[in-house]
Symmetry: C2
Subunit: 555 residues, 2 copies
Amino acid sequence: MTAPTEPIRAPRGSTLSARSWQTEAPLRMLMNNLDPEVAERPQDLVVYGGSGRAARSWPAYHAIVRTLRTLGPEETLLVQSGKPVGVLATHEWAPRVLIANSNLVGDWASWPEFRKLEHLGLMMYGQMTAGSWIYIGTQGILQGTYETFAAVAAKRFNGTLAGTLTLTAGCGGMGGAQPLAVTMNDGACLIIDVDRTRLQRRVDTRYLDTIAADLDEGIALAVQAKKDRRALSVGVVGNAATLVPEILRRGVPVDIVTDQTSAHDPLSYLPEGIDPGDAPDYAAKKPEEFTDRARAAMAKHVEAMVGFLDAGAEVFDYGNSIRGEAQLGGYDRAFAFPGFVPAYIRPLFCEGKGPFRWAALSGDPADIHTTDRAILDLFPDNEQLGRWIRMAGERVAFQGLPARICWLGYGERARAGARFNEMVADCRLSAPVVIGRDHLDSGSVASPYRETEGMADGSDAIADWPLLNALVNTSSGATWVSIHHGGGVGMGRSIHAGQVTVADGTPLAAAKLDRVLTNDPAMGVIRHVDAGYELAEHVAERDGLRIPMREGDVQ
Amino acid sequence: MTAPTEPIRAPRGSTLSARSWQTEAPLRMLMNNLDPEVAERPQDLVVYGGSGRAARSWPAYHAIVRTLRTLGPEETLLVQSGKPVGVLATHEWAPRVLIANSNLVGDWASWPEFRKLEHLGLMMYGQMTAGSWIYIGTQGILQGTYETFAAVAAKRFNGTLAGTLTLTAGCGGMGGAQPLAVTMNDGACLIIDVDRTRLQRRVDTRYLDTIAADLDEGIALAVQAKKDRRALSVGVVGNAATLVPEILRRGVPVDIVTDQTSAHDPLSYLPEGIDPGDAPDYAAKKPEEFTDRARAAMAKHVEAMVGFLDAGAEVFDYGNSIRGEAQLGGYDRAFAFPGFVPAYIRPLFCEGKGPFRWAALSGDPADIHTTDRAILDLFPDNEQLGRWIRMAGERVAFQGLPARICWLGYGERARAGARFNEMVADCRLSAPVVIGRDHLDSGSVASPYRETEGMADGSDAIADWPLLNALVNTSSGATWVSIHHGGGVGMGRSIHAGQVTVADGTPLAAAKLDRVLTNDPAMGVIRHVDAGYELAEHVAERDGLRIPMREGDVQ
Ligand SMILES: NC(=O)c1ccc[n+]([C@@H]2O[C@H](COP(=O)([O-])OP(=O)(O)OC[C@H]3O[C@@H](n4cnc5c(N)ncnc54)[C@H](O)[C@@H]3O)[C@@H](O)[C@H]2O)c1
Ligand SMILES: NC(=O)c1ccc[n+]([C@@H]2O[C@H](COP(=O)([O-])OP(=O)(O)OC[C@H]3O[C@@H](n4cnc5c(N)ncnc54)[C@H](O)[C@@H]3O)[C@@H](O)[C@H]2O)c1
């Protein structure tokens, strides 16, 4: 069975094709993940992130759809690596769908084993939100990048990037969010990419303001914007291994340095002196030589980044492993600057802050605009949030069902959920919304190379936490819950959990949302209390979160 | 904080020390796991299986107890590797305790990483039922062994071992259950152990009938019992590598051959010509020489087992890796006979059959005798079950809270649960009972060296199944649910889940038990349907289990 001839698109409006919103919601969100506006390769069921799939096969997809259409209010559908394997009688507080994707026993948790099983038709790769049916397109990446730069601003620049200059490289699928994320934080940004077409695409989508004719012009424009405290992003074509040292040498007043070239794979990072058009062929024919030259280039690149660090700039690794590759390339101070999670994101995690997202099942953009106003109304004092919501409203084009994402913390998420449910109940929204999140969240992932890198107590690799997170959401009334392996950083390197809950305007949904949106971020606070973070202890105490080891007399 | 000065013993009777039976039950079962009658090393919180713990530390133990005493009917306690980390508001159908023990991200799923984290005080090893508070002493091992031999009988000998002779070796902690398990199945058994004290201990506890003066007498007694169709177990002192080939050479009419010497560790299996008393010293001083000689001995031992196979006997590996070691010892037909799970247990798993167990919270043995009668009454046609229940009643001494175990399948478990709950309600039982199981069950474990070895479709290492099992039980009303890593076979080699549900006589408990005891074994049936086992397909069809891929038109 091959792909359907018609592109998949979730039903819109308020007419149900399933028996209730509790099952209509996962149905629409599964379909939405495969909408051509949303998915990278819908014909292969691939949503994003290399090979992250929404369902294992077309027969599996059709069987899920068929089952959701008739699933009852006290039934639960089980999905094993993208294939529906059973329907069981549960109860009305239980999730309607339970999902486990890509999980392997530890000694077999590798790409070769996974590929073997995938080839046998026994598994699929679920990434984070592909197999858990809550991907919302590139807005998620933009928002995560915005949040990171906002955290940099908060830590070092009094809460704004106005008057600062950020230097970065890599304007690809994920890195291309950087220039807009910087300008949304009111900063100036100089971004290098070796491939002009990548920069041009971002100009076309208004993520990048302009491409400079050459390095001189690029520097001049960016420095002037910094002086004027003006938001501006400028692209420069060139190899970062050449240009970053040159910019350092010239003493350009750079405040922030990072990088999102494809450094995770030394066959993707371009060595100096190679044209982007020639690279694939060269990499294929002489992979070892290419790798050696790429690593040598990364060593130069990172050495210059450390030069900026020594000169007083804020420097961080943006999750692409460039430090490790530069070290392999022979540069021994590569780890002088930190990864972005320990540097900026962990304090947010300590407050249970993470990527709260929602989608309007009506398909009506007006519903999202209404929720945007509700968020502004609920959190009038959160300037950073307000700026994001306003700019997103102007700048972000919806893909598939209209959706929004913003980072909210413990307490805040439950308030937003309650409000959205009220708005469905009193028809301010034209149909229910779903509220979910990425698996990258404060209490839902163990990933020692990214989200849990450098935990204060050394507990980076402990996977009890995401599993408890999944069990807690299952115990709290989430509509669907998922446990995945290998998202973001690959097989053997992460275990993570997700939840999506429907706000259908009923009192039951209100009760469920209150539990889920309280307990889910609570797991993040608890996890960080356990690791010894004072900020998390403070939040737990402030909000009366119960931590048994801190209660009662020590016996 | 060190161990309490008084030994721990669960409260008995029907007076609550917690707020309800939903929390009294985990409280008593945690304590029961640490009762000196039950636990191997209670002072170290070690219950069984090397270092399987009930709680991470004494402060953690006390905090769990304190929290369970006050936990409300809509609250849930979270336990991370034996330490209570949070209390959250959930709902009355949610579990009262959620447990994740010893889980590590794949690339870190090894003993050295685990030991490092354990040493930092961040983890504990939960084994299967130690950290999930439902260990019931050695009865579990006896019953599992009984069930295995019953399955051998069913497969090959018309349902009884009467008139058969079983040859085995290894009469230690686990292997010592073999002679009684064979005689409970009405067979004759000849068991070899190099260490006379091991045989003697089993005579003292009535697991072994007699020790023969020498091999000649042993063979004579056993063969005569076989002729007379009499149940009899006979121990013989000697090295299996010497005696098994000798028994083959003599043409003794052996029907079944297995082994439970400590072959998993070549420093524990005795080479020929070594006295048990001298072995530890020799192994410590010359580990490589010892290993080589042990493997050579295992090669001889397994070669003789294959000789019996060629002569028509039923031969199997009982989970001690003797085939692998014999292969390393140079014998190339070592894998000519199968492991016990694919050979006998998998067909039971296909029917959702697994180790159903329950404990009387009253502490009154009469309650278990009452439930024994209920089981006999519920399943009058199941002779094998009846024989076990009657013999267990006579032969098994309770350890800690009186408990019983027997293997029941899909459908049967729910019926037993319903009956027990009725009996609590109408006071035929003096207090509630808990109903749980080992993590070794039909749909709750991924363990490629044991429970999921040699799955028909090659899905041995896929861990989605035990995770779905935990999510399903959490969605069905279980009282506590656990996800563990590394039980039975060690770090990196297994992922498994458990559940325990309280029968407190209320209608709510009846509804929960019905869901849990239906869905939990249903996971086993579904898992085996998915792997292509016809027997499982038959059960699913017979009992109307919904498998979405088998419904609707193929599109
Ligand atoms: N921080 C996170 O959470 C996170 C998440 C996902 C991915 N990543 C990492 O971020 C990196 C970028 O991801 P992406 O999706 O944008 O990748 P991509 O392949 O789409 O883009 C990489 C870009 O780098 C450019 N490039 C390569 N070598 C260069 C060089 N020497 N000089 C200048 N430009 C060069 C390429 O032309 C391309 O435009 C990856 O390494 C990825 O693993 C991080
Ligand atoms: N089937 C299962 O599910 C399962 C479960 C747990 C353990 N096991 C395996 O079963 C084996 C036995 O476990 P145990 O707890 O009884 O171990 P144990 O160490 O308590 O007993 C092993 C016995 O083997 C005897 N022995 C050693 N070498 C011998 C030789 N050459 N000839 C005769 N006797 C010899 C020892 O004297 C000892 O009595 C182990 O390998 C264990 O890994 C299987």
